[in-house]
Amino acid sequence: MLSPILLRTGLRDLRRRPLHTGLMVLGVALGVAVVVAIDLANESARRGFARSSEAIAGRATHQVRGGPSGVPEDLLRRLRVDWGLRASAPVVEGVVVAPDLDRQPLTLLGVDPLSEGPFRTHLGSGSPAAPNLARFFDDPSAVIVGSGLANRYRLGIGSRVRLLVDDRFETVRIMGVVRDAPGASEALEGLLLMDVGAAQRLLRTEGWLSRIDMILTEAEAARLRRDLPPAVRLAPASEQAETMTQLTAAFQLNLTALSLLALVVGMFLIYNTVMFSVVQRRAVLGTLRALGTTPAQVFALILVETAAASALGSLLGLALGWFLGQGAVRLVTRTINDLYYVLSVTGAPLTAGAAVRALGFGIGAGIVSALAPALEAARVEPVAALRRSVLESAARRRVSDVALAGLALGAAGVACLLLVPSSLFASFAGLFGVVLGLALLTPAATLVLMAGIGPLAARFVGTLGRLAARTVTTSIARTGVAIAALMVAVSVTIGVSLMIQSFRSTVENWLGLTLRADLYLAAPRPARSARPPTISADLQARVRAVPGVAEVEVFRAVEVASPEGPVALSVADPRRERSADLYRFAEGSPAVIWSRVREGAVLVSEPFAHRRRIPVHGGVVTLQTDRGLHVFPVAGVFYDYASERGTVLVARPIYERYWDDRGISSLAVYLSPEASLEDVARRVRAAVAGSALQVVSTRSLRRGALRVFDRTFAVTEALRLLAVVVAFVGVWSALMALQAERTRELATLVALGLTPRRLWGLTFLETGFMGLAAGLLSFPTGALLALILVEVINVRSFGWTMRLVFEPSVFAQALLVSVAAALLASVYPVLRLGKMPVAAALRLE
């Protein structure tokens, strides 16, 4: 459809105006870079998890799993001998920390080399004759590591590695280094292989296995499911991985949505530059039309130009995104390690899929942004295209149409949020609808604002003040888009800041309500590992004996199975009553709730109730106990921000009735009224000396919790900053466009005696007004964004209720950022104004 010569005019135009093309390329590049960075980070985390799951689960089809203590070792013999199921392998799994290897959490996998053959290939053929394999049996401290870990920390055969196991330090020796399969570098990352017996001794779980891996036919599985003792159950091997993947899905979707928001801001920039190009080339386009170029050809020409610039921008964005992705993968992995499970990812390699997605997003976003200007260019009749200001006046006429479209889009967004309550995807679609709807309302709102600001500015600054306000109004096609882009970026800043602040203040408040003891003692827990660290019984006794200790409360955190997947179970002492503020939807007072808990009911955390859709009244939770499946009534829902997975809380006597585990995970120490915190803390530390048990005050525990909180939002902060950078470039490009269009007008003003200083003042005033408009309009948008994030997105993603806090300083800061970004963006255009050849500019047609 496009002749080669037409195509050439478009592509040469891109080359002839490097600044304009550069802005378009930059808009795409920045947007694509953010999307690529998050895509790579998410993808790498997913792949890393899949590889390590494969490495751990191997080719097993099913797993026999038990309660917190695991599966009795004897069951393996019965499976093999009584049921004749030879394809079974014992596994002992635990999470340990290597204090000398950057405190890296490592998964300790205890396997039986003789049974491993059909399951995992880490040990080669699994023959006892293989080099060093014999040592596996003799040496209780022998481990095998992957070559990735060995190379990174320069570990070789014979190297000793110190490990933090529960509340103890232990040392293991490397007896083998396994080469990773090509392209599977994450598979053995963070994995320590050990003989099953040695692992039991190291983790002090003699007689128990974490699970038994099985390769079964469906018939065998059905028979086994029926015949297994009640304390254990047969689960598909993929169950664990699926649960973990589901857990992080919302977190990763949130990041993707935020990164797409950066692309949307980039789209404003592309729209602006393409519209500028159309306005500037009106005469050329008019001539082309007069010479017989069809509207479709003009339309295609604009789109092809934009696609070419977008392709270049996407390639740059891909490179920049890969670079940012290396940082993003660290942030994402750290958060997953903090909140979900142990994950070790060393880099974010660029995959063909990510590259294709990036190019698709970049070129697609470019073309979508250029559709309106291209239509504009194609629709205008050639005789009108040959006249000046046609597009500008057309755009002015359409402000009300655009505002109506904005209202409709906003209403559709709200409808999406209200009418599709269960879908997170619909929630994000609704959020985007509301934000874009308000962005479309921006030009109309700007006209209203300027009508008010104009007379005020005239009173204080004189005619130039009025002129500045009018310039913003008369060039609304240009200024409106720039203000909308800046408004969206600043709104994101407001919305996300308010959300984080609300979340933080809620968590702080919650920590205050929950952490009532004076000291806490716990073994370092690397992540949400299946097997929690256990405190030795003698350490408890030593702490109780410390003078000044009035009471010691014990806690246990374990993971138990349920028909819907694993459940984090908290075992608490029901004697001490909790603050009434910790509960919602509870029937009766905390006293009533606790009495029900003492009788055998459980409490569930808010995210748990959300995930499992537990009703406000009359809910139940079915858990796999050591006595078989048991249905527990739910006495109430409590606020809990410690885990996004959700927790079920059970009273210790009830736990001991249904489970055999008697371990303790942490201690809360209450002091006698006259005791000094410092003295008691010192004495407790002395009492537990030699163990890895950490003694922390409530204050530092709270600080630690908030540090994890802040780390979780580090990615969000970075994304927010990038959106502002993209918007800043948008305002800059709009100003450059505005100035190019008004060269003759400005030259006339200079010819009439406007000094350079006042000319600069005029430009600063115009941009200041644009920044002010964007800042003021971002207040309602940002507040609405925060409301949606807090009341809808967070509740639907994580099930957390938060108290929305409207902090005035956030709004003040946003206004400042908005005006400063606009003023800063005007510096270069102002400097260019100083070099304007007035005589030539006056002659411009």
Partner: protein, 228 residues
């Protein structure tokens, strides 16, 4: 032989805010094939509007514009574009060359838009550039050319399709007298002397004197000029 151009009670008015300004009022006229007609009139009298109507760039408020056998204003937007591309050559006051195309490509463009083979378009463009004396500037971009040279390129571009009708809107309005004379000579040579019809809008009495017939627009009506 029927006239090449026939205006039948053509009116054209523009809305300017709440007011309506009439530029042409039920005016009728005919122009024969091979004629050189100059159109004069005061600024804003509707001269350029007349050319735009003849080229199908604009539509009359009432009446019909016939060029050859086509009623231009009754053609669809697409057909008007094709009509302009195939049957009209246009020369503008400000040359309107495409800055991103070379001189040669500018001349070739209308031929290429019709889908003519690039070899024949190339040959025609080359011979026209030679005829206007610019074959040595074929590979240059328009911004390296003087105003007179740019207008000569524009004339070559208007002729490349061998259209029977050439419309020129103040073709010398932006040129000095000597250069203007050169441009007019070229136009004369390649249009009237080649049997084509040339409608030229001008302010200048001297330019108008070269025409076979001079029309003026007064109060929205197209009339034969009294002073030739």
């Amino acid at each position: 032989m029927p006239p090449l151009i026939r205006l039948d009670r053509v009116s054209k008015s523009y809305e300017e805010g709440t007011e309506v300004r009439s530029v042409l009022r039920e005016t009728s006229a005919t122009i024969e094939a091979g004629e050189f007609v100059a159109v004069r009139g005061r600024s804003g009298s509707g001269k350029s509007t007349l050319l735009n109507l003849l080229a199908g760039l604009d539509l009359p408020t009432a009446g019909d514009v016939f060029v050859e056998d086509a009623c231009v204003n009754r053609l669809s937007s697409h057909d008007r574009t094709v009509f302009r591309r195939d049957r009209v050559g246009f020369v503008f006051q400000f040359f309107n060359l495409i800055p991103t195309l070379t001189v040669m490509e500018n001349v070739q463009l209308p031929a290429e838009l019709t889908g003519s083979g690039s070899v024949s378009a190339n040959a025609r463009a080359r011979s026209l550039l030679e005829a206007v004396g610019l074959s040595d500037r074929a590979r240059q971009f328009p911004d390296r050319l003087s105003g007179g040279e740019q207008q000569r390129v524009a004339i070559a571009r208007a002729l490349v399709q061998d259209a029977r009708l050439v419309l020129a809107d103040e073709p010398t309005g932006n040129l000095d007298d000597a250069t203007g004379q050169v441009v007019l000579d070229l136009l004369d040579r390649f249009t009237r002397k080649a049997g084509k019809t040339l409608v030229l809008v001008t302010h200048s009495r001297e330019v108008a004197e070269r025409a076979d017939r001079v029309l003026t627009i007064e109060d929205g009506h197209l009339k034969a000029a009294k002073d030739g």
